[in-house]
Amino acid sequence: MANVSIRDVRKSFGSVAIIKGVDVDIQDGEFVILVGPSGCGKSTLLRMIAGLEDVTSGDIRIGPRVVNDVPPKDRDIAMVFQSYALYPHMTVAENMAFSLKLKGVPRAEQKKRVGEAAAILDLEKLLERYPRQLSGGQRQRVAMGRAIVRDPQVFLFDEPLSNLDAKLRVQMRVEIKELHQRLKTTTIYVTHDQIEAMTMADKIVVMHDGIVEQIGAPLELYDRPRNLFVAGFIGSPAMNFIEGRLEQAGLALPGGVVLPLEGHVPAAPGSELTYGIRPEHLQVAPAGAPGSIPATVTVVEPTGSDTTLIAKVEGSHLTVALRERCALKPGEAVALKPLGQQGHLFDDQGRRIAAA
């Protein structure tokens, strides 16, 4: 096991910069998730750590060693690909043993290690099958088995669950998490799904447009997003944003509502700010309640465990997540009241400046 350190790493394809200077420190045994929208450079960064892409500038260290020019096979890593990339002409056992075979590990030892990995992943009965005879979840497990037999310093996962259906994804999420807790191998995991990131990671690296927007524990990012991008990206349903202007009495929202602000706001009166509030921090209040925002219900989405309400306010829509069932109907007028100090204020650069 090893820690991984990424120092001012950049990557360009021709004149196009894909990664624009990234610094990340990953501790030994940590489960780190790189998350961001497609095209943000997270997969490229992972492939650079794997050695499948050249580093344009900067250093990548695995353990004490700079690995920029080390070929993938000598980096002591294992990778699980989005398409699983199982060798179709080899059985499960041969797939898992391929790296050992290349290393010249004796046959008996190969068999033993494949057997151990198969036992961990519940693959013992499938060892003689070919990949085409397996279901999606089983293929996924074989791909992980292939990584485990190598007993690497670092596991790399490139969107491994995105080809699975929703139910299986939840199940595999748990399996990967359990596997990590059992093996305690440093893991770097790429996904565009922020739910995966929130549920699995020790530490999340939010990437956007080739840079790191924020690094932190899942709830840290959720509770204190550094900027508008992180605030909007992390959390489902997504955070609500309303533009407003800072006044003496509070934040003036479109439609004449003034949201009272507690505490100090480090911005000049009159500046344009964005107010962000998570759906679960909005409550349905009696019409005309002080500090509430008048709105019209447009959609009610009952999911059983909770209810999502989408309501129209002046200039935008707000999403409200209610734990209790509600009898509201589309077209009804409601008042939405934010819970105190749960909102966020962002300046015109998108930086979070205060709680509100």
């Binding site: 794997a50 050695g51 990778m79 398409s83 699983y84 990339a85 391929f98 290393k103 085409r132």
Partner: protein, 283 residues
């Protein structure tokens, strides 16, 4: 709209499929008829062929085959054909796969140029260049040898092989190679252990579509080969046609022997055509 489309499409395929079957059956008849006549005639004497052209022969009467194999140079022609076709196909498939892999996978500016260079070979009928080719082979001291045919056929077959292999190898997921690279495979090893097993169907296609014309080729042996010991089957069989009389039974026996290997090869490899080896590689 959808309902309309499904109702009309459910009626149409029946008549279309029926028509297709009729055409296919007629086509197989046209294709198989000469082959059947050839095989049947191989068991008849020349007299019987002209008396009862469509009658079933006595299959125990193998005099023609015995005569062809025992009294003529047919076995030597046969061996030459096997050597020439085998060596050409081996070279075409090996070189074509390697070139196709390079064209498909390694990014470089010369890639497109190299592919176009190969493709240009598809558009040039080499028979037009037979005189310069003759001079070239003479200068290389290859005339009147099996090598003259092997190098010529390899040159003719390579463009289509590169085209087929590059197209197929491009369609294989690059992640397979990445996985092998991380597993510790060297580039030749990736080619040998991962790509080649998957590339068997297109290799079979490249092999068959080159083997048939090479095996049947009459033109280049006629131009390049003078020594009887180096002649291939198509050229050798013409020696059975006398100036005044022809032993048709013997000729058909020779033709049957000549056609057998390529037909068997076709049947053997046709399974590879159909087999989808990449099923399960990626979802």
């Amino acid at each position: 709209m959808t309902a309309l489309a499904t109702s009309s499409s459910s009626r149409q395929p029946i008549s279309f499929a029926f028509l297709a079957q009729v055409i296919l059956i007629a086509n197989s008849f046209i294709m198989l008829y000469p082959v059947v006549v050839m095989v049947l005639s191989a068991f008849k004497t020349t007299g019987e062929i002209f008396e009862h052209p469509f009658a079933l022969p006595d299959f125990t009467q193998i005099g023609n085959f015995a005569k062809v194999l025992g009294e003529t140079s047919m076995p030597a022609y046969f061996v030459n054909s096997i050597i020439v076709t085998g060596a050409s196909i081996l070279l075409i498939v090996v070189l074509g796969t390697m070139a196709g892999y390079a064209v498909a996978r390694y990014e470089s500016r010369t890639n497109t140029f190299i592919l176009l260079f190969f493709l240009a070979g598809l558009m040039l009928p080499l028979k037009l260049a037979v005189i310069p080719l003759f001079i070239l082979l003479r200068d290389l001291n290859l005339l009147d040898s099996r090598w003259s045919l092997i190098v010529t056929y390899t040159a003719i077959g390579l463009p289509s092989a590169v085209f087929i292999m590059a197209g197929f190898l491009r369609s294989l997921p690059a992640e397979l190679e990445d996985a092998a690279r991380i597993d510790g495979a060297s580039e030749p090893r990736i080619m040998w252990s991962v790509m080649l097993p998957l590339a068997r169907p297109p290799m079979a296609i490249a092999a068959i579509q080159n083997a048939v014309p090479i095996w049947n080729d009459f033109f280049f042996p006629l131009v390049f080969i003078q020594t009887d010991a180096y002649k291939t089957l198509p050229q050798g069989l013409t020696t059975f046609m006398g100036e005044y009389t022809t032993d048709w039974g013997m000729l058909f026996a020779g033709l049957t022997i000549a056609a057998a290997p390529i037909t068997l090869l076709y049947i053997a490899l046709s399974r590879q055509f159909i087999q989808g080896m990449t099923a399960g590689a990626v979802k």
